[in-house]
């Protein structure tokens, strides 16, 4: 098997130039999906028979939670690849995925709390789903903190990759928590094996929002990895060329 693509993907320079071409398209796609999904979900989706209009929070809550979980998988996988193949870029992805995931997990908990008030009568409940999501937030923060807990960034990378891998055990627990325990949290709306337990008129905008959040995640992750690359590779010839070229362009505009 030809592994060239794998090694090329590990090259920060290749990543930087490829994402340079993708970013504008990804930005347009993300904004279109999020605006469409929000207008559709907020104004056109029918109101829920039991929960009324408060159910519209689902269009933020479910995509944020999904990406918080998917982002954790991505972070742990990047950490594993970094540990096994000692790939610099992979550790950079892991490092940038941690704050991104922490914000998404926070948003999932926050929108869930707001949704809980009119639905459950309380902002916070120590329910299995909510508690395991809170643990996910602490795992993200732990990975983030371990990065900076050591003198050498290499040791920090390895330590946080190991924490990320160990924490993966929490992901299936979160996913199955609504089935394993009797919880206040409603069962999943979207299932891998069955049709969604939601009317298509409500489900279609949710699907658009989920796609939008996936694109947004890629966009935010790429942007943050690119900064990391510029910072770490600042002594290399290609970054120096890039910077002096941009400086020249800026002077050209100013004069």
């Amino acid at each position: 098997m030809n592994w060239n693509w794998f090694y090329r993907m590990g090259s920060p320079k290749w990543f930087f130039y490829t994402t340079s071409r993708w970013l504008p398209w990804l930005g347009v796609l993300t904004s279109c999906l999020l605006v469409t999904g929000l207008v559709w979900g907020m104004a056109f989706a029918p109101e829920d028979a039991k929960q009324g209009n408060s159910f519209r929070i689902i269009y933020l809550h479910v995509p944020a939670s999904l990406l918080a979980l998917a982002g954790y998988f991505l972070m742990a996988t990047a950490g594993a690849i970094g540990l096994i193949w000692r790939m610099k870029l992979s550790f950079m992805v892991m490092k940038c995925a941690a704050p991104l995931g922490a914000v998404l997990t926070f948003l999932a908990l926050f929108t869930g709390a707001i949704w809980g008030k009119p639905t459950w009568g309380s902002y916070w409940v120590w329910d299995a789903r909510v508690t395991s999501m809170l643990i996910l937030l602490f795992l993200y923060l732990g990975v983030l903190a371990l990065q900076y807990a050591f003198q050498s960034p290499e040791v920090g990378n390895k330590a946080s990759a190991i924490l990320a891998l160990v924490g993966t055990v929490n992901i299936p627990i979160i996913y199955k928590s609504v089935d394993w325990w009797f919880t206040l949290h409603q069962p999943s709306t979207i299932k891998f094996t069955e049709a969604p337990s939601m009317h298509p008129d409500m489900f279609q905008p949710l699907l658009v929002m989920i796609l939008g959040f996936y694109c947004f995640y890629a966009l935010a992750l790429f942007m943050s990895v690119r900064v990391e690359i510029l910072h770490r590779e600042r002594k290399t010839a290609w970054v120096r060329d890039l910077v002096s070229q941009e400086a020249k362009e800026r002077e050209g505009v100013n004069s």
Partner: protein
């Protein structure tokens, strides 16, 4: 697809649930915007820092040449 609300006022209040829905939306929007703006600002800072280092290097080399 039918518009679910008769007036803007009804859309904003959402039968008493508007406060919850809109606050969730505003807070999410702010955080998501932050996740995009933050790397943009950092990228600008890093580029400026590298450019400054390069300028300083050039000056150092120029003064070295003068001394010789």
């Amino acid at each position: 697809m039918i518009l679910q609300f008769d007036s803007l006022n009804q859309f904003m209040t959402m039968d008493g649930h508007g406060v919850y829905v809109w606050s969730a939306l505003i807070v999410s929007g702010l955080f998501l915007a932050g996740l995009v703006i933050n790397p943009l600002l950092r990228q600008r800072d890093v580029m400026l820092e590298i450019a400054r280092d390069q300028d300083r290097e050039k000056q150092r080399e120029a003064s070295k040449r003068e001394k010789n």
